[in-house]
Symmetry: C2
Subunit: 81 residues, 2 copies
């Protein structure tokens, strides 16, 4: 079994209202010295294949077809054992 | 400046409807050999402090007070340069 971590984040320049709201909420709670908060989504996918290359290829296709929107998202894939 | 990555994920045993739906959608798209899909949330927090220990301590307090719900969430914090 191979575990794949797929991180889907907003491209630079795309507004991140969730991150902005977390930033404001943390400031209201009294946290000082915050510069920025960004949020992103993580998918942990377990595949039955044992080949890391196959897993990487499959995960890339999953991102292209479902997990990420190429207009606003970047993604990165890392294959764990 | 220190960047902190906070990963907030559901505890084991807590149902993850988003992960389940992604799992189903990927299966419907024809992906084979999927065992499980889990989702989690990632916060990238930029702090003006330069001390990694302070950053770690602040991030833990942020998780306790805002980012994570201790009933259903586990979290992990990693401090980047």
């Amino acid at each position: 079994m191979v575990r794949v971590r797929v991180e889907v984040r907003l491209k630079k320049g795309v507004t991140d209202p969730e991150g902005d709201n977390v930033h404001k909420a943390l400031a209201l709670l009294g946290f000082k010295g915050l510069r920025a908060v960004h949020t992103s989504k993580l998918f942990l996918i377990e595949l039955t294949t044992k080949d890391p290359k196959t897993a990487q290829r499959e995960a890339e296709e999953m991102c292209r077809r479902l997990l990420a929107n190429p207009v606003i998202h970047d993604y990165s894939i890392s294959v764990e054992k």
